[in-house]
Amino acid sequence: MSRLLAVTADHAAIARLEASYRAHQAQRRARSVLFFAALVVAVLLSAWMGEVDLVRFGTNFHKLPNYLASIMPQLRLGSLGADLAEWYWGFGRWFRLLMETILIAYVGTVLGFIGAIMLCFSASANLVRQRWVIAVSRRLLEIQRTVPEIVYALIFVIAFGLGPLPGVLALAIHTTGALGKLFAEVNENIDLRPVEGAYAAGGSWIQTMRYAVLPQVASNYASYALLRFEINVRGASVLGFVGAGGIGQELLTTIRQFYYADISAILLMIIVTVMLVDIGTERLRHYLLALETRP
C-alpha cells in the first residue's frame, strides 16, 4: 500500500517536472522563433535597401570568371621568361610603391603605438581614480577608432596635400584608437600584487610602472602592435585610392583604365606581401607570447 502511494507520488513529481520542462522548452522555442522572425525581417528590409537583384546577379555572374580570366597574364611555356618580363614590365616602380606602402604602415603603426601608450593609462579603471578622466580618454579613443582611416585620409589630403604624409597621419590616428582600447584592457587585467610590492619597497610612481606594470604588459603590447601592423599594411594598400600614398593609386588607375595584365601583376604583389607580413608577424607574436608564459 505504502509502495503504491510512493509510486503515485513519484508519478506526480515526474509529471510536474515534465510540465515545467515543457513550459521551459516552449519559452525557449518562442524566443528563438521571435529572434529568427526579427532576423528575417531585417534581412528582407536590407535586401530591399541594398538593391539586391538576384536576376541581374544570375544573368551577369558569368562576367566574374570572365573578368578574372581576362586579368590573367598570357604565359606560354615556350617563351616563359619573355612573357614574365612583359607581365612585370613595371616591377621596379611597383616594388618601390609597395615598399612605400609598407613604410606608411610601419610609421603609422609606430606613431599610433606611441599615441596609444600615452592615452591607455588614463583609460584604465584600475590605474586612475577620477572617473571623468577615464570617460574622456575612452570617448577620445572611441572616436579615433570608429571613423575609418580612409575618411581621415580624405580630410588630411586636403589639409596636408597629396602624398604619403596624410596616409601616415590617418593610420596613426586610427591605430591610436584601436590599440589604446586594447592596451587599456590589458592594463585592467594585470596582477596588482607586484605593484603593491614595488610601492611597499619604496618605489616612486614611475619606478612602479617600470618594474611592476611594464614587465606584465610589454609582450601583450608588442603582440597587439604586430597584429595592427599587419592590418595597417592591408589598409595602406588602398590609401592611394584617395591620394594618400602607396600602391593604391596605381592599382586604381589600372582597374579604371582596364590595363588587365597589370591588375593581376599588382594584385599578386600585394597578396604576397600581405601573406609574408601575416606569416612573419604571427611567428614573432608566438615567440613573444611564449616569452611571457616563461616562469
Binding site: 531585417a42 534581412v43 528590409l45 536590407s46 535586401a47 535597401m49 541594398g50 538593391e51 539586391v52 537583384d53 541581374r56 546577379f57 551577369n60 555572374f61 562576367k63 566574374l64 573578368y67 612605400e100 613604410l103 606608411i104 610601419y106 610609421v107 609606430v110 572611441e142 572616436i143 570608429t146 571613423v147 575609418p148 580612409i150 575618411v151 580624405l154 580630410i155 588630411f156 586636403i158 589639409a159 596636408f160 596635400g161 602624398g163 604619403p164 604624409l165 596624410p166 596616409g167 601616415v168 592591408r234 589598409g235 594598400s237 588602398v238 585610392f241 584617395v242 600614398g245 592599382l251 586604381l252 582597374i255 594584385l267 600585394i270 597578396i271 600581405v274 601573406m275 601575416d278
Partner: protein, 288 residues
C-alpha cells in the same frame, strides 16, 4: 649586529646573491645587446620613414593650420537640404553590412569544414585550401568592390557582394580554427552511436563551435559597418559616396554631420552586437 642597519645587512649579502644568480645580474654580452640593437633598428627605420614620407616641420605646421580652418568650418554640423538623402544612404550602409556579414558567414560554413584538419585529414588539400582563403582575404574590400562593380554595376549590391566575399574567407579561416580546437569526445560519441559523417558534424561539432561562430559574426557585423561606410568612395553604395563628395566640394558642415552620423551608428551597432552576444551565448567572450 648592533650598529648595523637592515640596509647594511642586506648589502653585505648582495655579493653572494649576485654570484648565485649570475644569469640575472650579468647576462652574456650578446643577450644584453639584443634589446638595444632591436630598438635601434626599429628607430632607424622610423626616422627613415618619417623623412621619406615628408614629415617636415613646415609641412606639418602648414597642414595643421589648414586643418584648424577646416575644423572651424565644420561647426555647427548641418545636413543642409540633404537630410533624407543622407539617412537613406545610412540605411544602405547598415543593409550592406548586415547582408554582407550574413551571406559571408553562411558561405564560410562549408568552406571552413573543408579547411579543418580534423575533418579533411589531407595536408596537401589543407594547405592549398588555406592559402586559397588567404589569397581572397589578402585583397581589400575596396578592391573586391571594384571587381564586383564590373559584374553587377554601381550600387549597394556590389558592396554587399564585396563584403560577403571578403568575409567568407575571413570566417572560413576563423571557423576552421574553431573546428580544429573543438573537443573530440562528442564526435567519438556520435560515431560510436552509429552516426555517419554528416551526423558527426551536425551533432558532434556544430553545437561546440556555434557560440564561437556567433560571437565572431557579431563582432564582424560592427567592423563591417565601418567598412560599409567607406565602400561608397568607389561607387559601391552607402554613405561613403556622400562623404567623399562633400569633402571634395569643401562642404565641411555636411562632412561633420555625416561623420557624426557614422559615429553614432557604429557605436549603436557595437552596443547592439555586444548585447546580442550576451543574450545568445550568455557570457562576454572576446572573439579571438
Amino acid at each position: 649586529m648592533s650598529g648595523r642597519t637592515l640596509r647594511q645587512v642586506a648589502l653585505a649579502g648582495a655579493g653572494l646573491i649576485e654570484q648565485r644568480h649570475a644569469a640575472v645580474f650579468s647576462p652574456p654580452l650578446s643577450q644584453r645587446l639584443l634589446g638595444p640593437a632591436i630598438a635601434a633598428g626599429l628607430l632607424a627605420v622610423l626616422v627613415f620613414g618619417l623623412y621619406y614620407t615628408g614629415f617636415t616641420a613646415s609641412r606639418l605646421w602648414n597642414g595643421l593650420d589648414k586643418l584648424g580652418f577646416i575644423v572651424q568650418f565644420m561647426v555647427p554640423p548641418d545636413p543642409g537640404k540633404h537630410l533624407w538623402t543622407y539617412l537613406h544612404a545610412l540605411g544602405e550602409t547598415v543593409a550592406i553590412a548586415l547582408l554582407g556579414t550574413l551571406v559571408g558567414a553562411v558561405l564560410a560554413l562549408p568552406l571552413a569544414f573543408l579547411a579543418a584538419k580534423n575533418i579533411v585529414p589531407n595536408w596537401i588539400f589543407h594547405f592549398t585550401w588555406r592559402r586559397g582563403l588567404d589569397t581572397v582575404r589578402g585583397v581589400d574590400i575596396l578592391i573586391w568592390a571594384l571587381i564586383w562593380i564590373n559584374v553587377v554595376g554601381l550600387g549597394p549590391f556590389a558592396g554587399i557582394l564585396a563584403i560577403a566575399v571578403s568575409d567568407m574567407a575571413t570566417f572560413g579561416k576563423m571557423f576552421s580554427e574553431a573546428i580544429e580546437a573543438a573537443d573530440k569526445r562528442p564526435v567519438e560519441g556520435v560515431t560510436a552511436a552509429g552516426g555517419g559523417p554528416m551526423h558527426t558534424i551536425r551533432f558532434g561539432v556544430l553545437p561546440e563551435i556555434f557560440p564561437v561562430m556567433i560571437s565572431q559574426v557579431l563582432y564582424y557585423f560592427e567592423s563591417n559597418t565601418r567598412s560599409a561606410t567607406i565602400i561608397g568612395i568607389v561607387g559601391a553604395g552607402g554613405i561613403g559616396l556622400h562623404l567623399a563628395d562633400t569633402i571634395r566640394l569643401n562642404e565641411w558642415q555636411n562632412v561633420s554631420f555625416l561623420i557624426i552620423l557614422v559615429l553614432v551608428t557604429v557605436m549603436a551597432i557595437d552596443r547592439l552586437s555586444t548585447r546580442l552576444r550576451f543574450a545568445l551565448i550568455g557570457k562576454r567572450q572576446a572573439p579571438s
